[in-house]
């Protein structure tokens, strides 16, 4: 009993270490203000005003605003997961983290907690802005669906952030550009600004393997859009958990490879 409580405490302290690191780095990073406020708000307002200019129906406006808010939330949340490794890479301090008795789980969970906090901040800021500027109420769907949707977004963000970490462990710091570009790829195929039904047929299978497609489908059905797929929420969560599981295995393998090739040391030089 005493042993298990000690183990739990140990796990919590190590996870908190990454929360602490990301939190302090976030506080001291001047770009935080841009990441949380400037870019999301500018992007959101641009799309919102475009809907005004185009004279879109409230339903169509809802479609676009849900898309842009989701995109910004995911982008900010995934950055934190990616940053947990990138901060060390940029500081050339990678080896100190990896000689400590911590596992990939501590690193990912700790950074995701900060990512969720920052992502939630973006989501709620944009939610307020939607209501204030464009008379669009995110809360109309109810608290439960909102929490499920937000959870889906955070888990999608985690898959993107972990993928960035894997790429950095395989290709080195050249891969840090993925932290800003991977999300943009999702923008094309998972129906952020348009339904995936308008995509060329050969792209659809790609959309179907991205969990975000299902979470967007789920949330938009509350605003009168017929879901493209059945059991969207279940499919979204199953897919995202499968990806997380596979990515954790891949990340451990990438770490082993980095120790074999010497990349882990090169990242500290």
């Amino acid at each position: 009993m005493k042993m298990s409580s000690w183990l739990i405490a140990d796990e919590l302290i190590k996870t908190r270490a990454f929360v602490f690191k990301n939190w302090v780095m976030t506080k001291r990073n001047i770009f935080t203000i841009f990441e949380i406020l400037f870019w999301p708000v500018v992007g959101f307002l641009s799309v919102g005003l475009l809907t005004e200019f185009a004279g879109l129906q409230p339903q169509m406006r809802a479609f676009l605003l849900v898309g842009v808010v989701s995109m910004s939330t995911i982008q900010v949340c995934q950055l934190d997961v990616a940053y947990v490794l990138l901060y060390d890479v940029w500081s050339k301090a990678v080896k100190h983290g990896f000689i400590a008795p911590v596992g990939v789980r501590h690193l990912l969970l700790g950074s995701l907690i900060v990512g969720m906090a920052r992502g939630a901040a973006v989501f709620f800021i944009l939610m307020g802005a939607s209501y204030y500027f464009f008379d669009f109420d995110f809360m109309a769907v109810g608290t439960g669906p909102m929490i499920l949707f937000l959870l889906g977004l955070f888990l999608c963000a985690a898959t993107v952030g972990i993928l960035v970490c894997i790429l950095v462990l395989i290709f080195g710091n050249r891969a840090d550009v993925a932290a800003w570009s991977l999300v943009s790829l999702m923008l094309l195929v998972c129906g952020i600004y348009y339904p995936i039904t308008i995509l060329p047929r050969w792209v659809t299978p790609l959309s179907e393997i991205i969990p975000l497609t299902y979470f967007l489908d789920y949330f938009r059905h509350f605003y009168g859009f017929k879901p493209t797929f059945s059991h969207v929420l279940a499919k979204g969560f199953i897919l995202v958990f499968v990806y997380l599981f596979l990515e954790i295995i891949l990340m451990k393998a990438a770490l082993r490879k980095a120790k074999k090739t010497g990349l882990l040391l090169k990242l500290s030089e």
Binding site: R28, P101, K259
Partner: protein, 313 residues
């Protein structure tokens, strides 16, 4: 004798390049045994494999072949357990740049699972030990090289390691700061009995600090032992130069034990001896006994640098 480090047949090759692959053999079947509580130095020219060896011991690199046991445990199968019991500090220290000294220590202390009160106490103790109290609130990127190095050592002691790996701990430091760091390392070894394995290019540092040194060249250990024994094995010896007046007892001198070589002219001689402290009184006794008057006496001691040069050739 319990061993802190047991390395057998260690091989590590780095492969670089995409199309034209280039293979660099860093370690070629290296063997090393370091006893618990020992202070060993790893010396060798650039690219000899010193840092590679340390990084394999710290589980930052995986070797292709060989057996590595730390504190009696296989590194690959007991990685987590060993991480808790060893630590590494390297020259050209780098830590999270926008965290302060205290925050960096707090972060790494948390990685080692130190709970709240113990963590605070440990951090205060290390800040005090390394005179870092005045820099506790200073960001890492605003610190001087010496202070960064002290932080690196402080970080390496957070988990009270049983084995401490030091990779050129005083490289690039001013002599006074380097001296202080050496004192701290020595104190640490003396007071806590920590096993220390240190790489260095500074022969004086190795000679002052290390009980035993190992010379690595081209991925294998060429020699190891006490600095004094290495000098003796290489017959480098110490040189005694004497200017004299009288009849030199040449044949007696040549027949004495511990004399490696002897050159003389009418009024001067150069005697190469195995151990200066042992032979000088004997030689002086001989000169005085033979009533040879000594005008001048000069001594040139060989040091680890000579040993290094001999093995690097």
């Amino acid at each position: 004798m319990k061993l802190a480090v047991e390395v057998k047949g260690l091989r590590k090759t780095f492969v670089s390049g995409w199309l034209r692959k280039r293979r660099t053999e860093a370690l070629k079947g290296l063997d090393l045994n370091v006893p618990e509580g020992g202070f060993w130095g790893i010396l060798g020219p650039n690219g000899a494999g010193k840092t590679t060896l340390l990084c394999i011991l710290a589980n930052l690199l995986t070797p292709e072949e060989g057996e590595v046991k730390i504190l009696g445990m296989e590194v690959r199968t007991h990685a987590m357990e060993l991480c808790q019991r060893i630590n590494l500090s390297s020259g050209h220290a780098n830590f999270l740049w926008s965290l302060t000294v205290r925050e960096n220590l707090k972060y790494y202390a948390m990685l080692y699972g130190l709970p709240g009160k113990r963590r605070k106490k440990k951090i205060e103790e290390l800040l005090h030990l390394f005179d870092l109290g005045g820099f506790a609130g200073v960001r890492f990127d605003e610190l001087s090289t010496g202070t960064k190095q002290k932080l690196s050592l402080a970080k390496a002691l957070l988990n009270e390691p049983e084995l401490l790996l030091l990779d050129e701990p005083t490289v690039g430091l001013d002599p006074d700061v380097a001296h202080r760091i050496r004192e701290l390392i020595q104190q640490l070894h003396r007071e806590r009995g920590t096993t220390i394995l240190m790489t260095t290019h500074n022969m004086k540092e190795a000679e002052t600090l290390c009980e035993q040194v190992a010379f690595i060249k081209e991925g294998t250990i060429k020699a190891f032992g006490r600095p004094k024994d290495l000098k003796r094995d290489l017959r480098l010896g110490d040189t005694i130069m004497i200017a004299f007046q009288g009849s030199l007892p040449a044949s007696t001198l040549e027949g004495m034990t511990g004399i490696y070589g002897f050159q003389a002219s009418d009024s001067t001689c150069r005697i190469l001896v195995d151990d200066l402290r042992e032979r000088l009184p004997q030689i002086l006794d001989l000169f005085i006994g033979q009533k040879v008057f000594i005008h001048d006496l000069r001594i040139q001691e060989s040091d680890l640098e000579d040993v290094f040069m001999a093995y690097s050739r």
